[in-house]
Symmetry: C2
């Protein structure tokens, strides 16, 4: 019998691990992943007939490889406000503390806050996040430095001031032109009109047009608060979703965050236009905003990703934690433990999250020719023992701190929990100084 | 001016850390804790006039010292079932999987499962847990070996079989006589009649009498499931709480777990008899059992501790995670972000938990003459930066993996995350083998 052996050359070889590719239901035991030029060149079960020559070899013994987690809704620089004005009524929290502090934010604060957020995300297994804030150009620079992938939406808030709305849209367009596709394609830009409540229909129409012209997507808060819903209804006689549909805002490139106070018809409207949803269970619970019917949306076929929201209302970027909250909150709402099972939640945090951001052809699952955005989770931990179910252990037992290795775009950003792209103590120190400075002023 | 300096001798000195004693609202910066003969001999702010001579010195730089967390409701050996039969309807989960597997459990399974649970608890900052299960003698041995503190209730289930109920009560009494106060007082014993639904009023009366005679407490599930509530109502014309009151079961030494389906009158009854409550937010959400009105109970003055419940319905013993769920679930239920603030939650997980178990004179806060049960949490982490609020960072941002050092009864059980009392790989291996063996059989 003739033995044919195949030699593969690669930049990085990850071998000897369990792989959850999140493509179909396949789980690969004793698998390997070969990475070349930032992409997955080979993935599968190790065989004797196959040998790989790699510049770097990572031993995955006892570890589980899966796509890097995708955080669909953040305000990353708000790490500076983590733990400020806790457990207050919403208006007091927002109007008396967060909003006045945001007025004081300078570009350097936002850069340092964003770097801290990026560091936290790397350390908890997130490889891509979708942000909305001011000075997204500073955040783009932080993303570039950190090595992460991101979809960054420049926030646009009119708040009754037409000139301000117009100016913020212009700035957002400039940032889009400058950063779209930068950092070897790791950075995607969107426009981020804040809400239907804080942007007029006229401005929203302009924003929609600008996005279509630039061929970029949109990111907006939708139906987060009951008072906002009521105010929009009083002003326009429409729900927020109805208003967005009426002005032709809704399309498959729109990501809407929250979706708590939706009618059945609103949900059908989102489905009709293939609008994508970011589900933020922790922030919704912490701010007591209400509980979105995500299971209904998902069953209707709406693409749902998971977000943490900002550190001022979560107070963590740990997507493992958010996955557990995501599942348990739907089970609680529908009074059914079978609702939103672990595998589906992990799908929302990977491939569906990527789809929600319009980048599912590039990332979100481990497949040949996709970008090498992946994480290794160390399963040799008491709280991950035994392993009757990989999905359940990841969603219900694991934490971000179980992530051992993070690879984005074929670059190793963390190995053995040591972050390579950022100077951890320095990033923490600068953000801390900025945060304390803002409070003292 | 005369400088008087004081020399203290101690077994262990923890110094240079922030201390949250959880006694009143005081936070001690640059504090120290001296431990002698298993107890806290001195605690306070370091001064120049004070010097400590200690056999072991732990540098608390960048760390926060607080009382070890108290987990008020577990079935610790169920770690073996972590991840089994996930996301199924309750009856299928319980009757088709968990209960049949429990029938196969031998004493050695329970010992090995409990050791894994103890290991997980040490690694996530729990120093005391309150358990209910079969073969609590095996669990007592695991606790003894691990170095943890525990309140162990031997489960008693009649389920229509009077002889079985009687026999289990006798066994429970034997275990109580043998283990009460053992392991230098680290082990307390209780009787654990399963529910009003699975134990007849006659048996519950006998159990109550036996506990009073032995001067030990009781631990029972109460109002966890709607179907159980309805069955009790149909059989006896009473709520579970009414029935327990009618047979004189309720007293200040009774710990009731769950308390989901309670009437307003039931809550008043619990308050009247000073009954203690174990709140299990993660298990309640995961099994979709409903949401207990813990904020109401707490405002009425009922003592509430927090529990994780077993690994088959959580699937984690991480009390930091449970604290976050505890707060957020009440905010969600009452639609008010100010409900159950972080400091109160941390109180529930420490001093109130200790009170719920009747051991608040010994542990639960850091005070002179209390047992040295404490943990050091490493705050030099991106996700704990900045520190605007210690309580909020602990409850909303920290995870069990941030615990660096665990001390129980004056013994260092973990230092720099290395567990000293247990052989970590061996405990995991044995539990894993037992778990896989049970499934294969």
């Amino acid at each position: 019998m003739l033995q044919v052996s195949l030699l593969i050359k690669a930049d990085i070889l990850v071998h000897n691990c369990t792989i959850l590719p999140m493509k179909g239901e396949e789980i690969i035991q004793k698998g390997f992943i070969a990475i070349t030029d930032g992409k997955i060149s080979h993935i599968g079960k190790a065989t004797k007939a196959l040998s790989v020559q790699a510049k770097r070899t990572l031993n995955g013994q006892g570890k589980v490889a899966l796509p890097g987690l995708v955080n669909c809704h953040t305000h990353v620089a708000m790490t500076l406000f983590r733990g400020i004005a806790e457990d207050r009524p919403f208006d007091e929290w927002w109007e008396k503390t967060i909003w006045p502090l945001e007025q004081k934010l300078e570009r350097s604060h936002i850069y340092n806050g964003a770097l801290l957020g990026c560091l936290e995300m790397i350390k908890s297994g997130t490889t891509c996040f979708s942000d909305m804030y001011f000075h997204e150009d500073a955040i783009a620079e932080a993303v570039q430095k950190s090595g992460l992938r991101a979809v960054l939406a420049s926030g646009i808030i009119e708040a009754g001031n037409r000139d301000q709305g117009r100016r913020m849209l212009d700035e957002a367009v400039t940032i889009a032109q400058r950063f779209q596709g930068s950092a070897n394609g790791r950075i995607n830009i969107r426009l981020g009109p804040h809400t239907v409540y804080t942007c007029s229909p006229e401005l929203l129409k302009e924003v929609r047009k600008a996005a279509s012209k630039l061929k970029i997507g949109l990111h907006i808060h939708l139906a987060e608060s009951m008072s906002m819903k009521e105010a929009v209804k009083a002003n326009f006689g429409l729900t927020e979703t109805e208003l967005l549909e009426e002005i032709d805002f809704l399309d498959s490139d729109v990501l809407v965050a929250h979706c708590i106070h939706l009618s059945k018809e609103d949900r059908q409207t989102l489905k009709k236009h293939d609008v994508k949803v970011a589900y933020n269970p922790v922030a919704n619970m912490k701010l007591a905003s209400g509980v979105p019917k995500i299971w209904d949306l998902s069953k209707q076929g709406v693409t749902v990703g998971i977000g943490t929201d900002g550190a001022a209302c979560n107070n963590s970027f740990d997507m493992f934690e958010s996955m557990k909250f995501a599942a348990l909150l739907q089970k609680t709402l529908f009074r059914d433990p079978a609702v939103l099972p672990a595998e589906k939640v992990l799908r929302m945090a990977t491939i569906e999250g990527a789809k929600a951001l319009g980048i599912e052809s590039t990332v979100g699952s481990l497949e040949v020719d996709k970008k090498a955005d992946l994480i290794l989770v160390d399963f040799e931990k008491p709280h991950l023992t035994p392993t009757h179910d990989f999905y359940a252990n990841l969603v219900y037992s694991a934490h971000g701190s179980d992530v051992d290795t993070v690879i984005v775009d074929g670059e190793i950003l963390m190995e053995n929990r040591k972050v390579k792209s950022l100077d951890e103590p320095q990033v923490m120190k600068r953000a801390q100084e900025n945060a304390y400075g803002l409070i003292k002023e």
